[in-house]
């Protein structure tokens, strides 16, 4: 079984995030493999262990994204495809999905695994667009992924619990942290990654001209500061009022 996992390098989420003068995320500082994608890699590796086959990483990003790709290979993925082109800086969700689809299609995977959303852009739009472009059914927010014959079955996380969703392979799933803690890249894995194939793909090879994003960021403003909360003094019915509040925000 062939599993493609999409991976992205993002600015270290633990460092303060800065914007460039043209309202793009400053990607100059320390960068890491998106922690959300580590769950994708983990889910892919678990399936490979259960069913055999191979895990192929696909990434779009600048040359230095090679570090993030290597991290995924060190965890145990078999090989990678890296689409890199200067004109892709600032690509929006649609363009990203188009690029990834073009890179993934020739692989004919049985399963494509994505994180639910990137930790930096957080649009959550790339996976559904990618599924459409690949012509695959999509099962999102999976906290468990199983493959049974030519069916992919997931436990789809919801506010109440989970739904069991089944799709015909080839399919695309997005996974949550529920799939289990990503494994360490063991030192053995890191050294083995040295000899694994990372195929560099130019934009032209995908039959796509210079990418022109459909979206652009016109302005940036600080989020409204949070208003002071309501202080409930106990005059005998505080518990009921707190409960009413919790129900209102759907916390219970």
């Amino acid at each position: 079984m062939k599993i493609v996992v999409t991976v992205k390098q993002i600015p270290d989420p633990n460092a303060p995030q800065k914007l460039t003068s043209d309202n793009r995320l400053d990607r100059g500082g320390e960068a890491v493999l998106d922690p959300g994608d580590e769950y994708g890699v983990e889910a892919g590796l678990k399936l490979k262990e259960a069913h055999g086959g191979e895990v192929v990483l696909v990434s779009m990003g600048p040359a230095k994204a090679a570090d993030a790709i290597r991290k995924g290979l060190s965890m145990g993925a078999d090989r990678a495809i890296h689409v890199s082109d200067d004109s892709l800086a600032g690509a929006d969700a649609l363009l990203t999905a188009q690029i990834l689809a073009a890179a993934i299609k020739p692989e004919n995977p049985d399963l494509v695994i994505c994180g639910t959303e990137s930790t930096d852009g957080s649009t959550g739009m790339v996976p559904p667009m990618l599924a459409e472009l690949l012509g695959m059914p999509q099962a999102t927010f999976a906290k468990q992924v199983e493959v049974k014959g030519d069916k992919v079955s997931v436990h789809r996380q919801t506010n109440e619990g989970y739904e069991v969703v089944e799709a015909q392979a080839p399919a695309l799933v997005t996974v949550t942290a529920g799939v289990g803690e990503p494994r360490y890249a063991s030192l053995k894995g890191i050294m083995a990654a040295r000899s694994k194939e990372v195929k560099k793909v130019e934009l032209s090879a995908l039959g796509i001209e210079k990418g022109s994003p459909a979206e652009s960021v016109e302005g940036v403003a600080d989020a409204e500061t949070r208003k002071a909360g309501e202080v409930i003094e106990d005059d005998g019915n505080a518990a009921e009022r707190i409960l009413a509040f919790l129900v209102q925000v759907k916390a219970v």
Partner: protein, 394 residues
């Protein structure tokens, strides 16, 4: 005219941007060990240190990660570069010197002599299990009356037909009480020889040393050898004389010159953070000139020590490092780390004497590191001899 680079963010613990000199793979190895230390060692270290125990169950985890014998080739060992091994030692010792000691002893003092001087059978029997952390090794050289002068050892190896009989005591042996195999150096007719003594061999027993105030998260023991009869197959055939144990120590010292940079970094970061958050006389400690001077002295020495470590690592990878250069690194970097630990402790005030902060733990650990693997005095005299040609320690 040379241009000055655009201002990049200056990092206190990597002020000279040594990060840029590391290869991808080295950075990944470093990050992996750092994460392991964060996840597995830091949460338990206060308890282990306080109780004076080494959590043996961590050994297989260190093995799975690839940290045991990681610079050796084959037999389940990782075959990493000397620089990668050094970076791993640095991160481990930023956690606690006890764990770096465990890894140094297992890899450089126990596995290395088997790998270098052992028979194929000995390698097959021990190295894969030791690399996996399923078997633990120790290194018995020091004796109650033979420390800095190990050649004066009394432990003897006598021929008895085709067998050997060992008698003597070894003291201050890291991992002794938890070891499955002891590499014991003993005096035979033709000079000092190395033997593999498995746990449970009749006549061989161990006694742990308690009431230590340093390296508490590490087992230190006495090895007692009373008419221990061993077959010829227990002898390491590849080396005769003090060259055997000394070559192992040279490997382990190399790990120390990296490791101590980690302990120093941990102390520096604790002091720097504390100095900014703690206020007296209405302002943060960091705003007093005396505190800044302490912090800047730490900054200079820490980053110079890291530079020494990386440089010696590259030299070792190129196969052109001398034992005197390793002495240079060990002497300098342990000294620097101890100075930083002591200075950091003063910045933390009373908090500096508790286990809530890592500083006094590192400080006490470093007292052992100053003494073992050649005391600072001995390394001073080794370097003195190297530059004057006069041997002053005999």
């Amino acid at each position: 005219m040379a241009k000055t680079a655009p201002r990049t963010e200056l990092k206190p613990s990597d002020f000279l941007d040594l990060e840029s000199q590391l290869h991808d793979e080295e950075r990944l190895i470093r990050d992996t060990v750092r994460k392991f230390v964060h996840d597995r060692i830091l949460p338990g270290i206060e308890k282990w240190f306080e109780e004076g125990t080494f959590p043996k169950e961590v050994a297989p985890e260190l093995g799975r990660l690839g940290l045991l014998g990681m610079h050796l080739q084959g037999y389940g060992c990782l075959g990493a570069s000397a620089t990668s091994y050094g970076l791993a030692c640095l991160e481990l010792e930023a956690g606690d010197s006890g764990f770096r000691s465990f890894v140094s002893v297992q890899g450089s003092l126990a596995m290395f002599p088997i790998w270098k001087y052992g028979t194929e059978e000995q390698k097959q029997e021990w190295l894969p299990r030791m690399a996996a952390g399923e078997a633990i090794g120790c290194f018995g050289l020091t004796e109650p009356d033979a420390g800095s002068d190990p050649a004066s050892m009394r432990t003897s190896a006598r021929r008895a037909g085709a067998d050997w009989v060992l008698n003597g005591n070894k003291l201050w042996i890291t991992n002794g009480g938890i070891a499955d195999v002891a590499v014991v150096w003993a005096r035979a007719d033709d000079g000092v020889r190395g033997f593999l003594v498995p746990k449970g061999t009749p006549g061989f027993s161990t006694r742990d040393i308690h009431r230590k105030l340093s390296l508490r998260a590490s087992i230190t023991s006495e090895l007692i050898l009373e008419d221990v009869r061993l077959p010829e197959a227990a002898l390491l055939p590849g080396v005769t004389g003090m060259r055997g144990p000394l070559s192992c120590l040279n490997e382990a010292r190399y790990g120390i010159l990296w490791g101590t940079v980690g302990a120093a970094r941990s102390c520096f970061e604790a002091a720097l953070g504390y100095s900014k958050s703690r206020s007296q006389f209405g302002k943060p400690l960091a705003s007093f000139q005396l505190t800044q001077e302490k912090l800047v002295n730490m900054l200079l020495e820490l980053n110079k020590a890291a530079l020494v470590a990386l440089h010696l690592g590259r030299m070792k990878d190129e196969g052109r490092i001398s034992s005197e250069q390793v002495s240079f690194g060990k002497l300098n970097n342990v000294r620097v780390a101890l100075d930083i630990a002591r200075s950091a402790r003063t910045i933390l005030g009373a908090n500096g004497i508790t286990l809530e902060y890592p500083v006094i733990r590192h400080m006490n650990n470093l007292e052992s590191v100053l003494t073992y693997e050649g005391t600072s005095e001995i390394h001073t005299l080794v370097l003195g001899e190297a530059i004057t040609g006069v041997q002053a320690y005999r």
